[in-house]
Amino acid sequence: MLSVLIWLPILGAALIALLPKNIPTERIRLAALLVAGFTLAWNIFLLLKFDITSSGMQFLENIPWNETLGLSYQLGTDGLSILMLVLNSLLTWIAIYSSAKQTERPRLFYSLILLVSGGVAGAFAAQNLLLFFLFYELELIPFYLLISIWGGEKRAYAAIKFLIYTAVSGALILATFLGIVWLTGASSFAYDTLTTQGLSSTLQVILLAGIILGFGIKIPLVPFHTWLPDAYVEASAPIAILLGGVLAKLGTYGVLRFGMGLFPEAWTIIAPTLAIWGAASAIYGALAAIAQKDIKRMVAFSSIGHMGYVLLAAAASTPLALVGAVSQMVSHGIILAILFHLVGVVETKVGTRELDKLNGLMSPVRGLPVISALLVLSGMASAGIPGMTGFIAEFIVFQGSFSVFPIQTILCVVATGLTAVYFVILLNRTCFGKLDNNLAYYPKVFWSEKIPAFILAGLIIFLGVQPTWLVRWSEPTTTAMVATIPVIENVGIRSEDQKVSEWLVASD
């Protein structure tokens, strides 16, 4: 069943690539939308079939492939990955929908997007380390092409930088995976057969460090983040949505699945460092965002900050914190996607992303009032204003992490405050103030350009007022994961384990 999520987009990509040249761009876009739409529908079907009481893998598929290499086509999903799969399908559809109707070289463009979607779905569903790696690497070249062909002015530089960083990330991950198999003497790369309990603590820490560094580049964590602002800024809006909304999640997912999942003992050793790292990333991301003059770059740096919360929660490893981590991944994906989409619309209509030039877009007749209003909503969501999904995710992260890492958590709370600072700067300069008479001849925003933002805004509010729809999928899985991890000793006071749903009810 999970194979559909992988092969339908890849098959769609192949078919679109083979379409005759004379087919109009709009039809190609429609075909890509249909493929992405079917994939999303199938994903929602799987989500509805998903047993939320089970902590184990579901929808398992296992086809032997190359036993000599220990490679098998093993797929499965649990509470950690099911939401990531849905997020991937949703944002793929949104990215295609928000792409320009007259994109150049449309067959290649949409094929690459669908290829990325299939690859990412494969990575989230893979239950074999080598299979994961294959899918993980599958998105590398398409993303490189998507940035370098359809990107902005400095696209070549940004794409090469992205390629180098991601290739190093892949190499580190592959080396670590090979190390795990060789050192544990396992006969295959199957995730469920691997155990690192027999390895010394030092070896475990070294291998875990490889995982964290490899995926840390992808997240990215400071100081491995320098590829991100360039890639996000130079990529066109639909590709930035995929980069920020989906690709970065592969990093945090990898840390949780392969770092915490395979090295529970080493995790307790390295967790305090990770918590500090997460807090430092959060603070750095926020401060760097405040200093930006380009709104897209500002949003890009905000992403670095928000991914720091996920690392903090993962380090804390309490049931609540892990649910918070998964929630934050979903929430961040949605919020970042809407932000990049809106920034893309602003850039298309106004012709600039510079804070010093933008002004008065809230103007009801000649401005972009709906886009501005949605930008305000997205900024509020990102800053963690109650009633929106950003608040739920961040609050669960902080509530779950505080008992273990109080100082780091407080630093992240400060970073949330700083998020409000840069979004106030962004919104104040962009949306409010006086519309310049000499410049304000912006073309109108079409409904088709508003629809993706409305969908994402609807999700932001829905998950904000109905948080159980955000947390219930991952709770059993994260609880089971935490059970394998020894108690992390730290200055904090560990709170009593409490089921998240009970906590949410108690909070109400």
């Binding site: 008065g360 809230m362 103007s363 009801p364 007749v365 000649r366 009032p369 409010f432 103030g433 006086k434 519309l435 008479n437 304000a440 001849y441 073309p443 109108k444």
Partner: protein, 441 residues
């Protein structure tokens, strides 16, 4: 696109003024607005769209001044009775004193009557139309009237109307009318005894209702006639249109301005016609000064920071009129597109609607586009007033005496200097520079 610069026809050396091109155009008998077919089409179209609501404004202003008067609860003052809708305009219809609008009737315009019945929605009780603002927005007309009242003392000593409002004669006339109006109402008569100045001030306001009503009674048929002539192909250039206005101004300059109140069938002449107040000096000039130039610093017309003392101390330095108006709303709080623009939107000629559809956001920002067209048209009207003043006070444009021509130039430059003053951001706010560009929409 900029209009072709007309070479100066005078014998003077070229003006060194910042707006030398406009000065030369005025000296050649033109307007501040460049003479292009597109400008002509825009201003005539908007005059027509303005004239229909104006036909309502003047009727209602007179109704309020003459009948509603000092009603403490004037809830229904915008519900013009049939008597005033059928009131004969003195400049239209067969029984006109001076028939300006040749083809038109003296009673309310047919398009106005249709709109009053259905609005932009559908036929429903008047009160619902009123509450939904699906009606002619008299608030705009009242704002203009109030502006004239606030900026008292304009054009003195030519304008004698204003000083008359403080005279003992006026107070005595008003006293009679007030006492008659509140006859049998001891509460209001008691209030009048306690606060006579408050009632007098309200009465002065009513006199300005009448003043503005009588002013617009002339302008509505003028604009209708201009529209008809344009449709017939009689106007070829912007100066043609402006000259029609100048001629009209002189034709009706002596029209009396008065204020009568009707109480229980009896007429009280608060400002009798016999005082000799005239349309040009007591209504037109103060109106242009108050409404086109000054008005009041309500939000939306111009960005300002009152705390930074960007609002002038002296009212004569106010610059919030249509000639300076920034028709883009400020943030979300702006008033423009004003209620007038909303009113004009309902009566645009088709050629103007088609024109707007071709530019900017078409239907979506038509209010802004027509607002800027209105701004252009009011620069044309102001040009007509400037030319009329020059005719009245100075010399012909083809005067052979260079000294006279220099006096004319000094006058024109002094007028345009109003748009170049650096104080309070006046220079940046003035739209004279913008309207020289066709792309300013």
């Amino acid at each position: 696109m900029t209009a072709t610069i007309q070479p100066p026809t005078t014998k003077l050396p070229p003006s060194q003024h910042e707006f030398a091109e406009v000065i030369h155009r005025l000296e050649a008998g033109g307007a501040m607005l460049p003479d292009t077919p597109e400008n002509l089409m825009q201003i005539i179209g908007i005059y027509k769209a303005y004239a229909v609501p104006m036909d309502f404004y003047w009727r209602d202003l007179l109704y309020i001044a003459e009948r509603v008067f000092l009603d403490p609860f004037p809830f229904f003052k915008y519900f013009v009775p049939k008597e005033y809708l059928e009131l004969h305009n003195h400049y239209a219809g067969e029984d006109a004193d001076l028939r300006i609008w040749q083809k038109g009737e003296a009673t309310a315009h047919p398009e106005l009557l249709t709109f009053m019945e259905k609005g932009e929605t559908f036929k429903m009780p008047k009160l619902l139309h009123h509450w939904f603002h699906d009606r002619i927005n008299m608030e705009f007309a009242e704002e203009c009237m109030r502006s004239m009242l606030w900026h008292r003392g304009m054009y003195a000593p030519y304008n004698k109307f204003d000083s008359y409002l403080d005279s003992e004669e006026y107070k005595a006339n008003a006293d009679k009318a007030i006492k008659a109006y509140f006859q049998g109402n001891p509460l209001m008569l008691g209030m009048y005894k306690l606060f006579p100045d408050m009632f007098l001030e309200q009465c002065r306001q009513m006199s300005y209702y009448s003043n503005l009503g009588l002013f617009w009674e002339v302008m509505a048929p003028v604009f209708f006639e201009m529209s008809d002539r344009y449709d017939a192909g009689d106007f070829k250039t912007v100066p043609d249109a402006m000259n029609f206005l100048v001629n009209g101004i002189f034709a009706v300059a002596g029209r009396p301005i008065y204020h009568h109140v009707y109480v229980r069938g009896e007429r009280y002449e608060i400002i009798p016609k016999s005082k000799g107040f005239t349309w040009l000096y007591e209504a037109a000039l103060p109106y242009v000064e108050a409404v086109f130039y000054r008005t009041s610093p309500f939000r939306g017309t111009k960005s300002y920071n009152a705390q930074a003392r960007q609002v002038p101390d002296d009212q004569k330095d106010f610059h919030y009129g249509i000639l300076y108006a920034d028709v883009f709303p400020v943030g979300t709080a702006g008033i423009p597109p004003t209620l007038l623009m909303q009113d004009m939107l309902h009566f645009l000629p088709q050629y103007l609607v088609d024109y707007y559809h071709q530019h900017c956001r078409g239907e979506e920002d038509m209010l802004i586009q027509l607002g800027i067209t209105f701004q252009r048209s009011m620069y044309c009207v102001t040009s007509a007033v400037i030319q009329a003043l020059r005719t009245a006070l100075l010399y012909p444009l083809d005067d052979p005496n260079p000294k006279h021509l220099q006096a004319n130039r000094d006058f024109f430059e002094a007028q345009l200097n109003r748009f170049t003053r650096p104080e309070y951001g006046i220079r940046d706010a003035a739209r004279l520079r913008d309207i020289q560009q066709q792309d300013y929409r």
